[in-house]
Symmetry: D2
Subunit: 406 residues, 4 copies
Amino acid sequence: MTEPLGIWMVGALGGVGTSMVVGARAISRGLVSDAGLVTNRPEFAALDLVPLPEIVFGGHEVRHGTFWDSAYEIYKRSASFDFEVLQELKEDLLDISEALKPGTSVNAGEAIEDIVENPMARLDDGLRSIVQRIQSDIRSFRARESVEDVVVVNLASTEPPIPEGPAIGSPEELERLLDEGDTSRIRPSMLYSYAAFLEGCGYINFTPSESALCPVMQEIGTAQSMPFMGNDGKTGETLVKAALAPMFKHRNLRVLSWQGYNMLGDRDGQILSNPENLRSKVDSKDSVLQEILGYPLHTKVGIDFVESLDDCKTAWDFIHFQGFLDRKMSMQFTWQGVDSILAAPLVLDMARLTHLAMRRGESGPMRQLGAFFKSPLDCDDHDLHRQYDALLKYYGGLEAGDASEG
Amino acid sequence: MTEPLGIWMVGALGGVGTSMVVGARAISRGLVSDAGLVTNRPEFAALDLVPLPEIVFGGHEVRHGTFWDSAYEIYKRSASFDFEVLQELKEDLLDISEALKPGTSVNAGEAIEDIVENPMARLDDGLRSIVQRIQSDIRSFRARESVEDVVVVNLASTEPPIPEGPAIGSPEELERLLDEGDTSRIRPSMLYSYAAFLEGCGYINFTPSESALCPVMQEIGTAQSMPFMGNDGKTGETLVKAALAPMFKHRNLRVLSWQGYNMLGDRDGQILSNPENLRSKVDSKDSVLQEILGYPLHTKVGIDFVESLDDCKTAWDFIHFQGFLDRKMSMQFTWQGVDSILAAPLVLDMARLTHLAMRRGESGPMRQLGAFFKSPLDCDDHDLHRQYDALLKYYGGLEAGDASEG
Amino acid sequence: MTEPLGIWMVGALGGVGTSMVVGARAISRGLVSDAGLVTNRPEFAALDLVPLPEIVFGGHEVRHGTFWDSAYEIYKRSASFDFEVLQELKEDLLDISEALKPGTSVNAGEAIEDIVENPMARLDDGLRSIVQRIQSDIRSFRARESVEDVVVVNLASTEPPIPEGPAIGSPEELERLLDEGDTSRIRPSMLYSYAAFLEGCGYINFTPSESALCPVMQEIGTAQSMPFMGNDGKTGETLVKAALAPMFKHRNLRVLSWQGYNMLGDRDGQILSNPENLRSKVDSKDSVLQEILGYPLHTKVGIDFVESLDDCKTAWDFIHFQGFLDRKMSMQFTWQGVDSILAAPLVLDMARLTHLAMRRGESGPMRQLGAFFKSPLDCDDHDLHRQYDALLKYYGGLEAGDASEG
Amino acid sequence: MTEPLGIWMVGALGGVGTSMVVGARAISRGLVSDAGLVTNRPEFAALDLVPLPEIVFGGHEVRHGTFWDSAYEIYKRSASFDFEVLQELKEDLLDISEALKPGTSVNAGEAIEDIVENPMARLDDGLRSIVQRIQSDIRSFRARESVEDVVVVNLASTEPPIPEGPAIGSPEELERLLDEGDTSRIRPSMLYSYAAFLEGCGYINFTPSESALCPVMQEIGTAQSMPFMGNDGKTGETLVKAALAPMFKHRNLRVLSWQGYNMLGDRDGQILSNPENLRSKVDSKDSVLQEILGYPLHTKVGIDFVESLDDCKTAWDFIHFQGFLDRKMSMQFTWQGVDSILAAPLVLDMARLTHLAMRRGESGPMRQLGAFFKSPLDCDDHDLHRQYDALLKYYGGLEAGDASEG
């Protein structure tokens, strides 16, 4: 019998967190199908993953409000949910919201500062104290929900890169910086992942914020025997890129240029309209093509804030390539996905698989989850299909898949 | 030291045949790159395939003209080639054209009848005589070019399906029909493949014409110890489908509808504007999705003749899918490829690999080539990436590929 | 002071009728903006058109249900409305539904027969009786709503064309056919328009059903001193065509091919998946281009039923054209509109302007409304911009427009 | 009998100039159709414009080479021309090239400096001397070609905007700056237009370079009784915008966002990849929408240099709009045009019409040509269709057009 699981979200009331909670509950009650949830596919059936109704939720948030509020706002802006489904979940959502705690925005950069509503998030009583408060919040969650196993997932807005300078070299150096309260190389995402590891929680960095799982933090996670993975969930345009680029490679069609233009209008897009936050994102998206194709090529990844789109991300990619007799040809695609809707089930998937790793006593980076990330830790292979093969092979599903198709 | 290879084309002066000859010669002379040629990728380097300059060409054709004429016409209509490259190859193209022989259009259906120019193609002196003439043409080619190994490739226009009725049940029955001159169940493509096998030639059916490699013909090919493969080269929209559909499957995104609209304006398109010929094609294209996704879905494959496009095939696909919380989303792509330019190198690739099979003494359907076909013989797996894995694994290139990415 | 207006809908519970009623009420209550409503633009401000709150609704319908039911269904399928807006209008919608009467499906063709739910719609007690029942329904509506001026709008599913044969030559012949109950040349839309004219109602044929305003019916409408207009509201892809084609003409860019592919999944689409009903529609859409450009060209208008799209019409057009030095170039567009949402305000617009014509004593075809129709009566000009100029000039708005831009 | 016309190009060997010369000659010889040439439409037939064979060409250029060289390069990169057509014109092109003179790049900015090949272009012997040299070059052209009427057209690369500071206030101030050799507010385009007016030439500024027809230069042109017009030829994406935006306005559909992404790879694109040159361009493109729609909206005009595309400009626009009941919908289009091919005939058109103005004794800005420009002088109306109405009305063609459609 599987233990229940607690998912603790950093940035809980954002689109992804809200959609995850709404979706988990709606599926549990049979109000919607389980589309989008990878771990519900037959290939994962034998793993005895925690059932959705056994998952409880809580998290940190720098803004005010409840899951009902944020779900209602999303409904109004993007029609991502059916209103009647929401209404059925209202009490549930309000109840889960009781488990929210104020997050921290100390040294998160200007763009994130701008969206802080809860003054507690700005309380800067020393980095050590902040870490301890995070730890204490996780412990309260465990008690409140009577749940032992907790996975922390980072869903907060993209932080700016850490300012130039030497990386933090060792756990000891990190300890010293925390005690000294030196914020010059410390972003909030480090405090969260650090606290998570100290509390014995698995950890998923769904954002491109590089601080969360910087080398020293990976070292700490591994030392604490915790499984973790990142960075930056692969949900839309990059997913398509990773699926299509191998086709050009295998056909020996030379890609001359691959231009990608993304437009989105939600809070995430607003944060990314700040150039320093955008840099973290574009770096993460842009490396995929060259690594799959094996040669340098002209690429562009544009991200524009288009408020009217809200969460309905729209991306257009243009691929210019050369074939036999050097003839130039082209392909273009438009992707119209809802970012939170695409991301939310993947967070559930990874939390379930991290939970499994904890139960199995596995620790360190979960390389098998490369298919879910734009910049997967310790994975050089960006070919989506190889990544899926690796995923299925790891969990024993590849043979099953093969068999069913033989 | 590799033996030279003769490629004998059925439908030699069409876009694919012409582009193949022009491209092979242009690459051999260093006038263009080898883009599009899969077997020139490093994964195949160890196979000692026949070098391009060692390949000679000949073929059957129901129309008049030379490779220079058809190349010139293609240049004028689609600008697929650089004119100066063509000019450099003019003598070569005229010389290769000497190896052309009149094909047969007996019982090819009305649409193909309409494009016949050479009255010899209509000569109906009994099916047995036609087969013997084809065999004799191949033998003359061998002599003329002093080449032993010959692969026959079917590049002719799509035939209508064989009229309803029992399939030809055995080689003996086929023999009898040939002797009786009963054309009711015999299309020209059967005569060509039969002659090819009798002459000890490997055989590739690049078209959707099902007669070429119908069960009895596969039985004969295998009995003659010949390698063969088909049907219907996968060059454009279907290629993209086969690359993209697995992405939806792996993400558990439910595809609701996948509409595909193809437009093309060359001779191939003109033949396909005849409904009975079109049926062979659409059947071949449409099965891919359901087999990859594993469930029935609403699909459409439209093919329209748009003369002004000539060979510049343009296809638009719209994919409607459902994700988490049953939210509907969509993706669309436009493919603008030049059909002959995409197809020609694949024919070279497969001729080289068939040649290898002949040298290795392998016979029967070359299942490892599934990635190159819309309706691969004896292959249920339409996932492009699994097909490539199978291809590389067969030729020993997968480990190399893996290693380079580890 | 403007008189109130009654709008009597044929096919009231369809997407267009429902959206019109919901929208008129939602705007009246200030719940949404007046976007999409042309007659609310400043150019029409001086006309003293009936204000939205002064408009009452009723209509014929062959199915069961209420406006609340159909609005709820549309919300569930296409999310065209905000659910909370609907909830606020619920009582109103139920009340308006009281004014619904059973329509007639006699001789409407098989596809329409299939959607009939109300057995009264199949009651065939003679054509004359049916006409009288329609007249009586309109009179009851006038009494119930205490409204004198009524405009009848045809929003019913597209009928098949009238079977071949001589057109009805005179009002007398029509009378005779009605008395004899000869349905061979009479579709329901004729009965409705005839009854409308007899009752002194203006009439708008928003559908491509040609019977509604066939020559003899125009003669009758004019004889009754009634204003009327049709056919087939121009809401989506054809609208874009009519806006874009003049650009190619003015630049002397020769359009070689213009391919249009439409997909839709609502009841309208279902009816159109019946080939004989589709014919009425395609004829209406396809004439626009040649008439604007002034020369014959390769065109295609495809309409496919894609159920998952519901009312979210998606159309892709590909335009292949030739410019200087005969260079071929292309343009493509994807239109993603919601048919009912685009159509509904136009029906309101035209009802208001028909009302104005009635007040002004104008009768016969309202040629000035050509911009709103795919096949406008008595208008050869399909250039959208000339059509708008004509519209504005007629209503005195062009000078205002000109002045503001001088 | 019409006088012959000399067209003197600034930036003669660029794509537009080369395509114009090739096209004018190819049409004159009957090698290609006159597609793309607006003034060959029937509406202009009565104007007695100069026939194409009566037009002679010359111009300034900062690079080396001949029209044959540049045409050959364009053929190789973009296949804009048929090679055999080029071959037939070779002698002609070499002969016209004799009329080329070195241009000036003094104070043209860094990006343009980078493409200068002819050292004469850098000769800075005082602004007055440069102007006199330009005048003398035009006079030699007149003598060489025995042509009196000359129109100067600016086809040179986009200059950066003039640095901040007070505009040149009067012809006298300009004279003083020329004598003093003060280049701080003088770009080369001013020197060319000034020389053109002094020499009695009409002038067309086909580029966004604002100096060419700055207020003081317009004053001078008018004082010299010369006709002129600018700025920035409207050839591609902006043309489509100007054709489509009125549709949204007339339907009262509220445009929320209009994002436009342009990609091009020719020399023009290379210059525009320099941010200061780009600014001139984007300002010119971006004002169109707000002026047509009449309200502020979210817009973006991106221009990216994608070298592999060469002159095959590809633009994608996404239009997000709101209709009835505030429902959001969208439209997107991809424009795949060849910039030079679209621009070249318009330059011919405008040179012919400027020639007509000179013969008629008209001077000052030719407002009637607004349809041809992104930022037309003295025209506030960006609605393409109104602009065409104005054009046709001016030249007496509107009545003809109306009549044919009445």
